[in-house]
């Protein structure tokens, strides 16, 4: 039956070539525009760490107050609060993170020193974010407590400095200080770079991660701040006259993350955050009601506006494009099916039931959808190749084609055509056999 109907569809397509070509071209364009946008959208909204994201939370504390924060607490924490949360240790694991730049002095004295990007982190960072190690391991909480001069380096830096060999225990010089390598990472670059994007800002969300990680406490000793801080006021003198005053100011610049296993843990941690803010209020530091947040990773990425606007906008525009194409296809299908009223009349007169007419035309719709989908895949591939010109390179290179994208392109095209063929098919099935035969008799 299927084969017969597909055959009929092809034969009728051959009779009205222009109309068929138009429907297929429209479908292919509509579907591929959607799939190109979807591929980019999928890349920019992807979960950076699927195995863990449901357990990772970003605590926020409102240390600016309603007059500066406008009701929404800052995305980062001030050192005072970050340190307090970390010391309290109320979560299974907790990481403090801030991006830093280091000056690396090569062992070879004649070579000039270079800048290295990276992050200052606490010991839990590696286990919490499933960071893969090639050699060695992260450091321990003892190193954190002792402000240890240890470092974890990327495979890239390891290749450059140590020729890719096991460099655990070797030394590197950062800002003129000696650090012992405790681990070398496998290639690892979560997209988005979720763990410090609150400091770096959404424009850096899809940048590659840095090359060197050192203990948070040690970096603070070395007065490593980040230029991307955010202070509660630009108009009053904050009294920041030296590093120590800066460190204990209300300026925010530290990303905090906690790992919480169960929803009960989450509630307990929420209570802890509220109690902490209450305490600060009692101590006179805050003069406003606690206004903290505890967002999971997905919510945090939304609040931090990680997905570029161009990506969500293109999703919206191409979805409306597909809608318009579908309205179009309904009209064209109607034309196509109505033109065949005599044929339907004869089929009905020869004993075909309405159900048979429904099947015939829906299968015809699906066949055209399938062909449209195949062309759509080709156009999607072309579009993704062109995405390099449409999107920023660092976003375009995240976009990839896989089997699921190809399958969903074809499925979307078939579903879209079948849906738009519903009304024309119903009209076709209403054809009165006698009337058709009489008129054309």
């Amino acid at each position: 039956m299927w084969g017969y109907y597909v055959g009929l569809a092809l034969r009728s397509s051959a009779r009205s070539k222009a109309l068929t070509a138009l429907v297929i071209a429209l479908l292919a364009f509509g579907v591929s525009a959607c799939m190109v946008s979807y591929a980019v959208f999928r890349a920019t909204t992807s979960d950076p760490i699927p195995s863990k994201s449901s357990r990772l939370y970003m605590p926020q504390i409102d240390n600016f107050g309603p007059s500066s924060s406008g009701g929404e607490p800052p995305n980062n924490l001030a050192y005072t609060d970050a340190n307090a949360l970390w010391q309290a240790g109320k979560a299974n694991r907790q990481a403090l993170v801030f991006p830093t730049t280091w000056e690396l002095t090569p062992g070879d004295r004649t070579a000039s020193s270079v800048s290295l990007g990276g992050d200052a982190v606490t010991a839990d960072f590696f286990a919490m974010f499933d960071v893969p190690f090639r050699f060695g391991d992260g450091w321990t909480s003892t190193d954190d407590a002792q402000h240890g001069s240890v470092a974890v380096i990327s495979h890239r830096l390891n290749d450059r400095l140590f020729g890719g060999g096991n460099s655990v225990g070797r030394e590197i010089q950062l800002d003129g200080k000696i650090f012992r390598v405790s681990g070398v990472l496998e290639p690892w670059s979560p997209k988005p770079r979720f763990f410090d994007v609150a400091t770096l800002g959404p424009l850096s969300a899809f940048d590659d991660v840095g090359d060197v990680y050192v203990p948070f406490t040690r970096a603070i000793d070395l007065k490593k701040a980040t230029p991307y801080d955010y202070c509660p006021s630009y108009a009053t003198d904050l009294g920041v006259t030296d590093w120590d005053k800066y460190l204990h100011s209300e300026c925010v610049w530290i990303n905090a993350w906690v790992e919480l296993g169960t929803s009960a843990d989450v509630q307990t941690y929420r209570d802890f955050l509220r109690n902490y803010a209450d305490e600060q209020k009692r101590a006179g530091r805050f003069t406003w009601a606690p206004n903290g947040r505890l967002r999971n990773l997905t919510e945090a990425m939304t609040v931090l506006h990680v997905t570029p606007k161009a990506s969500s906008l293109s999703m919206l525009v191409s979805a409306s494009f597909l809608l318009i194409v579908l309205v179009n296809v309904v009209g064209l299908m109607l034309a196509r099916f109505m033109r065949r009223a005599p044929e339907i009349g004869i089929r009905r007169a020869l004993g075909a039931s309405r159900g048979a007419i429904y099947r015939q035309f829906l299968i015809e719709g699906a066949t055209m959808g399938c062909v449209g989908g195949i062309f759509g895949v080709a156009l999607t591939l072309l579009g993704l190749w062109g995405a390099n010109g449409l999107f920023e390179p660092k976003i375009a290179r995240l976009v990839h084609v896989d089997a699921s994208l190809v399958a969903s392109t074809v499925l979307l095209a078939i579903a879209a055509t079948v849906v738009s063929a519903l009304y024309p098919t119903w009209r076709a099935a209403q054809t009165q056999p006698a009337w058709q035969i009489k008129v054309n008799g």
């Binding site: 222009a18 109309l19 138009l22 429907v23 071209a25 429209l26 364009f29 509509g30 525009a33 000056e103 000039s112 020193s113 270079v114 800048s115 800002d175 003129g176 800002g201 424009l203 230029p227 006021s233 630009y234 108009a235 009053t236 003198d237 904050l238 920041v240 006259t241 030296d242 590093w243 005053k245 800066y246 570029p308 606007k309 161009a310 906008l313 293109s314 525009v317 191409s318 409306s320 494009f321 809608l323 318009i324 194409v325 309205v327 179009n328 309904v330 009209g331 064209l332 109607l334 034309a335 109505m338 033109r339 010109g389 449409l390 999107f391 920023e392 009304y423 009209r427 008129v439 054309n440």
Partner: protein, 417 residues
């Protein structure tokens, strides 16, 4: 007269359309959706194009920037000496017109110091936020901005500023935009404003100069810049802004880097990102806008193609359905012109219906987008232009089928299909 004839033809056309409600409705809907989507998309394109061509107020074609990081372990005195030596060396480079050092540069996308300015020390209303460039007496000439009121800094006014030093300049130079915000009536020149660390005087007003934050996102303070007479001794580093005589900068950049390299031990300049021309900074800063513009244009083109295709398809179907009626009209004396006109007017009527509905949809869509994407309200002329385009597109699309219809010979009326 011609109008009268068209009007008398209108009634049968509308009457005929009511016999094809669904097909008519589909084209109306299609035109409406196209108008709503295309006018919003084109409006976004237009705002983005305006946005990404905003001038910085500087002589962009002749400016480049060197991001200079100081090597660790140098004290303020050493850094100051290096800074002076660097500037002197850069000024000696052939092809360099002028140089100054700052903490930020136009189109950088961030990095500038932000200061709130008050008119009274005890002011409780929100201070005016300004974006700072550290500057010296060469800054105005280097940037190529024009001083419209007051005077330039003098050499002796330039202070040195360590990272945590308070900013207490004797005088500042502001942009006209900022001056106007501070003093909506009257001149800002000579006025006293209060920085977080104390009072200062406005000694000059610039025509325009964008702050370092200007880029893909819009802020109301993009034009509110202030020049502070200071040399930053921040141990992290400074940026050197260099204005060249000619527009071909490659050789000047090479020579400038060589000149700095003579005392290379005190600094680090990233080989990849250490030097950037303002033209490059503009490309980088507005990358998002460019991708939105391209994307929207491509989709708009596809949309119009789809709509035109739909009209051609349905109109030819109608023509083929009405061959017999056309034949009867022709044998009753209708000319080819009459038939042609019939289809053109019919198309106009349908598209007009779509335009009316689409106009409403366009404004509704614009309202939603205003919330989500910080778009301004769409002026009326955008959907009007869109409507005009769709009317034209409709007439063009129906031209083929209408001509085909006009060719139907009268004999069809008496022949059996």
């Amino acid at each position: 007269m011609a109008l009268n004839r068209i009007l008398t033809q209108l009634r049968p056309i509308v009457a005929a359309l009511t016999r094809h409600k669904v097909a008519t409705l589909l084209i109306v809907l299609q035109v409406a959706l196209t108008l709503a989507a295309a006018s919003n998309a084109l409006f976004i394109v237009a705002t983005r194009v305006v946005h990404l061509s905003r001038p910085t107020g500087t002589d962009e074609a002749h400016l480049f920037v060197i991001r200079n990081h100081w090597k660790n372990g140098q004290n303020a005195t050493q850094i100051d000496a290096n800074l002076r030596a660097d500037i002197a060396a850069l000024r000696r480079v052939p092809g360099v017109r002028n140089v100054f050092s700052s903490e930020a540069f136009p189109l950088e996308g961030g990095g500038a110091m932000v200061l709130g300015l008050k008119l009274k020390p005890e002011q409780t209303t929100r201070p005016k936020i300004s974006l700072v460039y550290f500057a010296d007496e060469h800054a105005i000439d280097t940037l190529g901005v024009s001083l419209v009121e007051g005077r330039n800094f003098r050499g002796e006014e330039i202070a040195t500023l360590d990272r945590y030093d308070k900013v207490t300049p004797p005088g500042i130079i502001v942009t006209r935009s900022l001056a106007h915000k501070l003093y909506p009536e009257g001149s800002a020149l000579g006025g006293t404003v209060y920085l977080p660390s104390g009072p200062t005087k406005i000694i000059g007003v610039l025509a325009s100069l964008q702050g370092a934050y200007a880029g893909s996102t819009t802020r109301s303070i993009d034009e509110d810049s202030v020049l502070i007479p200071a040399r930053s001794l921040d141990p992290d580093g400074v940026v050197y802004l260099v204005r060249t005589d000619g527009t071909s900068m490659t050789s000047v950049i090479d020579t400038a880097l060589k000149a700095l390299q003579e005392r290379g031990g005190v600094r680090r300049i990233d080989p990849a990102q250490g030097v950037i021309t303002l033209a490059q900074a503009r490309d980088d800063g507005y990358a998002t806008d460019r991708s939105v513009v391209l994307l929207m244009s491509v989709v708009c083109g596809l949309l119009l193609f789809a709509t035109a295709g739909g009209i051609v398809g349905l109109s030819s179907f109608w023509v083929s359905q009405r061959r017999r009626q056309i034949g009867i009209r022709r044998s009753l004396g209708a000319t080819r012109g009459d038939i042609l006109r019939y289809f053109h007017i019919e198309n106009f009527v349908i598209v007009s219906g779509g335009v009316a509905l689409g106009g409403v949809l366009a404004f509704l869509a614009n309202l939603c987008l205003m919330h989500v994407y910080e778009l301004p309200g769409m002026p009326l002329y955008v959907p009007l232009w869109g409507a005009l385009a769709l009317w034209l597109l409709g007439q063009l699309a129906v031209w083929g089928p209408a001509r085909y219809a006009a060719k139907v010979p009268p004999v069809v009326a008496i022949r059996n299909a």
